[in-house]
Symmetry: C2
Subunit: 283 residues, 2 copies
Amino acid sequence: MIVTDSEQSAAKICADWRAEGLSIGFVPTMGALHRGHESLVELASSSSDRVVVSIFVNPSQFGPSEDLDSYPRTLEEDCNKVRELGASLVFAPKADAVYSSGFSTGVSVSNVSDGLCGAFRRGHFDGVTTVCAVLFGIVRPDRAVFGMKDAQQVAVIKRMVSDLRLGIEIIAAPIVRESDGLALSSRNQYLSFEERQQASTISTALRNASDLALSGEKSCKVIKNAFLVALEHSDLLRVQYVETVDPDTMIGVETTEKRVLLAVAVFAGKTRLIDNILIESEV
Amino acid sequence: MIVTDSEQSAAKICADWRAEGLSIGFVPTMGALHRGHESLVELASSSSDRVVVSIFVNPSQFGPSEDLDSYPRTLEEDCNKVRELGASLVFAPKADAVYSSGFSTGVSVSNVSDGLCGAFRRGHFDGVTTVCAVLFGIVRPDRAVFGMKDAQQVAVIKRMVSDLRLGIEIIAAPIVRESDGLALSSRNQYLSFEERQQASTISTALRNASDLALSGEKSCKVIKNAFLVALEHSDLLRVQYVETVDPDTMIGVETTEKRVLLAVAVFAGKTRLIDNILIESEV
């Protein structure tokens, strides 16, 4: 496995693979890799001849009051993990190489990115789409794998790829969870013991709300309220949003008659966690 | 030569060429082709195995009070012209095919697009960069040719291609002029006889202002003023802007010690004309 911070090297290696007729699967990450990321690498590996993992803590997708400086950076461990999973290339560029002198281009996706996390993290998705467009330009993968924990990100990236005719298959990988249900996240390591204990309530409450829908409840309002009630006794948790949306467009829906994504953002202390569950009621 | 409005057909044809190892030169146009466009097709043809011309009057690059509805549409003549010049494919899509249902992505370039035409045509360059990104995604050319009459457009597109690592060579073709100096433009046909007569003053005044610099004048203020004075007696002309800028960044410059682009927008009656000249003083 090759590890490089050089864009020219990464682009050349990928171009050579393409010229040899090898397909490329791409997993863009911000590092601090956990089993969730590992599942993405495995999915890329099973569908492509070569797997490229980028590790880049992208400044432009953090807000001014967010955790850019404290975001965990563990490059060596990250490389060891993806090496074992069969990745062929880790591309870990410096910020000033990605946003080189005079960089002035922004790629933004409206509508899909307006609600949910987009409403609370101004500019976040512009940062995500722009850096993904740049990384896609360097790697030129056949497919890219993203985790469904960031369901809105998946929808936004799919929209961009479709609109700009990038010709990249976007694979959405299932959420990987701890044994008590907490969705894996690089930010979970910020949690205190008590916050970590209470945080498991989020996934339990999501599952229970989903079960309510599957047992016949059609009102999204009732389902969202069930989630809120389930968190009431967790004094370290504070709900930022709970929404029921169309999983492709992220437009809010009121009934469970079609596929509905129940998506939430919850603060555990100062740590912001997101999670979601897809509700596919039988009609 | 193939003429198609089908994106799928155009993309397939171009993909087949690439698979055969043939290079693709691309000339994106809004149709109403004149000798200026023809020079672009010739340049593309001399540098590439296959030439693709797109003809698409892009609604999103027109302002609400601009000439989208009256913009000349002459598809059949356009096709005849580029066929004779050796184009292999004309891609003339419908607007609702380019901006298909749910289209939500915007590509924008700041800084380079802020001044000159960008300051007077709000949203214009966002429309240009977005549609070019889409067309580049469909055609995937090795190089694309743009005319230097739209000097700011050339700089904006170069910036986008560099930032998004599109790997497309952008060729800037010299301005083609009528015998009296007027830069060719599809909008020249809007001009009345008197407006057309006075419009030639624009290029004469540009050339004279440039000569002033070449004969030793270093102050851009003096040079810009010379342009304004030269137009004073043309009662049908109204200057919208006259600027001296760095030709790559479009940042204003005050002296002619480096390469300077003298760029102007002038209304002849209701018709907005642009023109420019590159001043390369010997230092």
